[in-house]
């Protein structure tokens, strides 16, 4: 989970847990550490081989935009199969199109009122609980 807002990260985690998802969730607060985890310190992506990854990605990050991460993840042979769920407050049409063009699997706008937000996250949790995540090559 790449999300710079600690509160959001916490709320997302709580709601996903409530939906019964028990997989490990690794939160990252910025793009650099997230990329290091995904592609390794050498940037080859070999560290992600054989991993089962589902990436939850916020687009507004302090050190880079989520689109940069999306681009690198989808261009790397070891990570490109990992489903990427873009979760952000922006509902700019061009940005949504750009994300799907780059290979994002799901784009979700965070509803601003909490009820909507919590509902969306719970649904997402339910979705995750039935979702098949492939092993990376």
């Amino acid at each position: 989970m790449i999300e710079d807002d600690e509160g959001h990260a916490r709320l997302i985690e709580r709601n996903i847990r409530r939906a019964g998802v028990n997989n490990a969730i690794r939160p990252f607060r910025d793009g650099t550490t997230a990329l290091e985890y995904l592609l390794g310190a050498d940037g080859t992506g070999e560290v992600s081989a054989k991993r089962h990854l589902l990436i939850l990605l916020d687009l507004n990050l302090p050190d880079m935009t989520g689109i940069d991460i999306l681009e690198k993840v989808k261009a790397n042979p070891h990570t490109r199969r990992s489903p990427v769920v873009v979760l952000t407050t922006t509902d700019d049409q061009r940005e949504i199109q750009r994300c799907y063009d780059l290979g994002a699997n799901v784009y979700i706008t965070k509803p601003v009122n909490y009820e909507g937000f919590a509902n969306a996250i719970r649904q997402l949790g339910l979705f995750f609980s039935v979702m098949q995540v492939p092993e990376n090559p």
């Binding site: 807002d5 509160g7 959001h8 709320l11 709580r14 507004n60 407050t89 922006t90 965070k110 601003v112 009122n113 909490y114 009820e115 937000f117 919590a118």
Partner: protein, 627 residues
């Protein structure tokens, strides 16, 4: 047959009258051609009187110069008739030929008419002569005299209404004077007098000679006096014109300095010619460099071709030239100029030259660019702020809900505690206030976000039938309108405009919606949508209601974000008019409100008819007042 002869002094006098009269007529007639209005007819009447009266006077003196050895008397009525014929025909011919739009063919109508008039005058004058004897005419010579009259008159008219110099005028006057006199003496040669011997001796010829000479001198004197007065009037007019010309030149020079522009002139074909001190001063180009289309070398390479094309198209179509381009100044810097040039027409409507002004708008352009930049910055800022403000809000709201869940757990844990109920109520109240405040904050942020989005939206202008569009808006709100017992009246003849459909619908949808929302329950609502053309290719649409009205102190406030006026008894965020104002501004228009409490409100939206291009509309070509 009586012996006849001519008094040479009187003959010379008659010819000089003819020449002087011709000159006066040419001068006055020429003045008529350059004057407009009632003064024109004054000059034409003057020219006709000078020409007709002068010819008649010449003729009369010529008659007196004729010595036929018998006493002659003149019938007053017929003599005056001959004068009237001369002035009348000449006046009619001058009037005909000097109409606006008279063609060369008109000369062939007016000229012969005037010639025939002169001939008629001559032979009427002859008929006024009471002589003791018979008068016979030799027909072929009469015909020649008429021919001379027609030719002389046509030439005279042709010369009168042409622009000619003083020297040309003098020569023309001599030729015409001699032609007029020639006609007269040819006419005289056509006449044969047969004397009556008894009559011839009835009066001593010496007395007769004196009488004739005195009469001739009196007529000639009167004629010269009249012609002299006419010339005096003409010269006073000339002085007035020159004064005006000097004043106009001084005004022109002052205007050039006042507009801070650089003035230049081009010839009728659009080539830069002659001295162009203004252009040389800014560009440093020499005459050889800027002549023809050389000026384009000083124009920025990116603008030069477009400038030359626009200029040649303008010259071809004889329009007003409105353009902008960058020019390299003598110091090597590029400056931005706005150009406006107009053709100057001469009296015949032909282009005489082009006069243009280059106005330096570099600073203006810079300020505009800065303004645009800061506008964009504000929009970006509004977007970022509203966007970023939402993130913490989600946390506030989210953890409030978490607290809500914790509250239930606290309730469980405190079961049986004496303060349990109070603690739960306090928690509930605090959580309720937090949630209400967050909901409010959320809607305000959403409003700012929407406004900043509108500012960044791209408009796609299309031609809009405004009557149909307004009727559709009114129909869409018919339900609310009918519930309020109101009627919306859309004028059937609203002018079409070219603009973005969605933006226009939002603007007028909001205004009509507001009008329906804030009606006065004291009277049935009546909302009228009208339009009127205003200058500068703009249309002012107005939405007028007879609703509750807006207090004068709130007129400016109603357009501010989150501000509302009057009793707060209707749902709303105070966003609509701020949104409308932002949209109208983006469309290149302006919005104003006039309102009176308890009487009604009118919102006026002034919009350009077409898309904003920044080009002014063409004015009519200039005509020189004095040349």
């Amino acid at each position: 047959m009586v012996h006849t002869g001519y008094d040479p002094a009187l003959v010379a006098l008659s010819i000089s009258i003819a020449i002087f009269a011709s000159y006066t007529a040419l001068d006055l007639g020429g003045r008529a051609g350059r004057t407009a209005g009632s003064a024109r007819w004054g000059w034409i009447a003057g020219a006709a009187a000078a020409m007709g009266g002068g010819i008649w006077s010449m003729h009369f003196v010529g008659m007196l110069a004729f010595e036929m050895g018998m006493p002659a008397a003149y019938d007053l009525a017929t003599t005056l008739l001959s004068l009237a014929i001369a002035v009348g025909f000449t006046g009619a011919a001058f009037g005909w030929i000097s109409r606006r739009g008279a063609s060369p063919r008109d000369l062939l109508i007016a000229g012969p008419a005037m010639g025939l008039g002169v001939a008629a005058m001559h032979y009427t004058g002859m008929a006024a002569m009471r002589v003791p004897g018979n008068l016979a005419y030799h027909a072929p010579v009469v015909a020649i005299s008429v021919l001379i009259a027609v030719t002389a008159a046509t030439t005279a008219l042709w010369l009168t209404f042409r622009q000619i110099s003083v020297a040309q005028k003098l020569i023309a006057a001599c030729v015409m004077g001699i032609a007029v006199a020639g006609m007269h003496y040819t006419g005289m040669a056509a006449a044969t007098f047969t004397g009556d011997a008894a009559g011839a001796h009835a009066m001593p010829s010496a007395d007769m000679g004196h009488g004739q000479q005195n009469l001739a001198l009196a007529v000639a004197g009167a004629t010269f006096l009249i012609l002299f007065l006419a010339m005096l009037a003409s010269s006073l007019d000339q002085q007035r014109i020159q004064r005006e010309l000097r004043a106009s030149e001084a005004r022109f020079r002052a205007a050039v300095q006042a507009v801070r522009g650089v003035l230049w002139t081009n010839d009728a074909d659009g080539r830069m010619v002659g001295d162009q001190p203004g252009w040389s001063a800014i560009t440093g180009q020499t005459r050889a460099e800027y002549e023809g289309y050389g000026w384009a070398d000083a124009v920025h390479p990116d603008d030069a071709q477009a400038s030359v094309e626009a200029w040649t198209a303008t010259v071809r179509e004889r329009r007003t030239f409105v353009h902008e381009h960058r020019v390299r100044n003598a110091d090597g810097s590029w400056r931005h100029y706005a150009i406006r040039a107009v053709p100057i027409l001469d009296a015949r409507g032909e282009i005489q030259e082009w006069v243009g002004v280059h106005t330096d708008i570099t600073e203006q352009r810079q300020v505009e660019a800065e303004l645009r930049e800061s506008n964009e910055e504000i929009q970006r800022y509004a977007y970022i702020v509203s966007h970023d403000l939402r993130a913490p809000l989600v946390n506030v709201m989210g953890f409030t809900s978490e607290l809500e869940a914790t509250r239930t757990e606290i309730g469980e844990a405190l079961r049986g505690h004496p303060q349990a109920e109070r603690i739960d109520a306090d928690l509930g109240e605090a959580l309720g206030f937090i949630q209400a405040a967050v909901t409010r904050m959320e809607s305000l942020i959403a409003a700012i976000l929407k406004l900043s989005r509108e500012g960044r939206r791209n408009f796609s202008p299309e031609r809009l039938d405004m009557t149909a569009l307004m009727n559709r808006i009114a129909d869409a709100q018919r339900h609310q309108t009918e519930q309020a017992g109101a009627t919306v009246i859309v004028a059937p003849d609203l002018p079409a405009i070219t603009a973005d459909r969605l933006a226009i619908e939002q603007v007028f949808g909001n205004l009509i919606d507001n009008a329906v929302k804030y009606l006065d329950p004291a009277r049935p609502g009546r909302i009228e949508v009208r339009a009127e053309g205003v200058g500068g290719g703009r249309v002012r649409f107005s939405v007028a209601d007879n609703g509750r009205g807006i207090a004068a102190r709130d007129h400016a406030r109603v357009f501010e974000l989150f501000r509302r006026s009057g009793a707060q008894d209707r749902p709303g965020e105070g966003i609509g008019l701020a949104h409308v104002k932002a949209l109208v501004r983006s469309l290149g228009g302006r919005i104003e409100v006039t309102s009176e409490l308890r009487v009604g409100t009118t919102f006026s939206v002034t919009l350009p008819r077409g898309t904003v291009t920044g080009h002014g509309q063409d004015g009519p070509p200039l005509r020189l007042a004095a040349e």
